[in-house]
Subunit: 245 residues, 2 copies
């Protein structure tokens, strides 16, 4: 058996998230179905770096799986013909047997996308969150973001349903930039709690539109209370960009 | 009653085309439903410049409708809140009572989009046709396109099901250009027969990949036989860009 590491891109629009759930269409179920077919082995399955929620997209999700097959440079083609078109394996390589997509992950990068303009193009509706009448002050948002960079207890910035007891995480980079008609948040850290990026996006937007001051981010962080960070930003603006090992 | 002219953008992916059909989701049915609600009048409806097929997109479809309402600059908002997010009214203005979206159309511009690359991004799958292993010669395609520019009988370049007896149309402009990872065809003419742009796209791709010679386009045109032009290109690469009056 060899261990393979693969990079996966998916449009999350028509998925009930990454993780398999009975009767729901999930990315994991589609990947496992493809592996089962390819290997003619009902136990064949992949392990991902982590789950993503319904509607969340990925450009660089990472999975691993074990295989007795030796497909050389036909791996990409072999898997992609078995996958639906909203999931693509974009890279694949053999790795050592101790590589683990989840436990070996050292960092993740996410992007959050808003779109400007009075109207949202129908072609953007599932891929960016429409700002509508809001014109957030990007400098204020970056000033608020500064308080989140570094190692903190992110209890205030994750879902109240988060099972993990240790809520200390390190954010290495957090930037907001306007690119033409899009406002892009990029965040890189050692790991993220459940709903953490979307909670951060929501809290920084509140700063951008003047509901909160940049310094309030520090206060919310210190409060260690999820109620303080306001509304979680919608799923369809979020992209898992990269997982590093 | 006033007559309004509106520009409509739609993502055709989840529509069975523009024209209303019983039990199917269509753009026309969504627009008429919004007009009926807004006017509280079950006969309220719009007339479009023409239909588009299932999967075909629009950035500049044009419709007209009659209304007793005077909404001033609230028209866009009023209609868009009643429409699903894959249909947006992007512009609206009052026009004279003799304006007619269909009979008054003097010209239309369509775009056809292919994407390059070994893999097609899941985000592009409904919005461009994947070239896969093909790397068409764009110069050859433009050389073939030249034969189509001007006034011709386009019997060979429309669906055999076309009801219209007069198949003479004028193409004013027809260009193919590569923009990064996309191959873009743009065609402007006085009007187009059923499936005409997709048949042209298919025939020019056959020239680009060496199945046909540029001069064959002239022979296909002269044959006045739909069988000669080869495969109709897929619907999801096609966009109605503009209608002129």
């Amino acid at each position: 058996m060899k261990r393979m590491k693969a990079t996966v891109s998916y449009d999350g629009t028509h998925f009930a998230g990454y993780q398999s759930q009975p009767t729901m269409r999930t990315v994991q179920a589609e990947i496992d179905k493809a592996l089962v077919k390819l290997h003619k082995d009902p136990t064949s399955h992949a392990v991902a770096s982590g789950r993503t929620d319904a509607g969340v997209h990925a450009l660089g999700q990472v999975i691993h799986f074990d295989t007795p097959l030796d497909l050389g440079d036909r791996w990409l083609m072999a898997l992609n013909v078995l996958l639906p078109k909203d999931v693509r394996i974009t890279a694949i390589e053999q790795v050592s047997k101790d590589f683990h997509a989840r436990y070996g992950a050292k960092g993740k990068t996410y992007r959050y996308k808003w779109s400007y303009g009075e109207l949202q193009s129908p072609f953007e509706r599932n891929f960016a969150v429409h700002l509508g009448r809001w014109n957030p002050d990007v400098e204020r948002m970056n000033a608020g973001a500064v308080y989140l960079i570094g190692t903190h207890d992110f209890t205030s910035f994750c879902s109240a349903k988060t099972a993990t007891s240790n809520k200390v995480r390190t954010i290495r980079k957090l930037t907001l930039e306007r690119h033409q008609d899009e406002l892009i948040l990029e965040v890189e850290g050692d790991g993220f709690l459940y709903n953490m990026v979307r909670t951060i996006a929501g809290a920084l937007l509140a700063v951008g539109i003047g509901w909160d001051e940049p310094e309030d981010i520090q206060k919310i962080l210190e409060a260690k209370d999820r109620q303080r960070a306001g509304k979680t930003a919608a799923a369809h603006g979020l992209y898992l960009l990269e997982v590093t090992y």
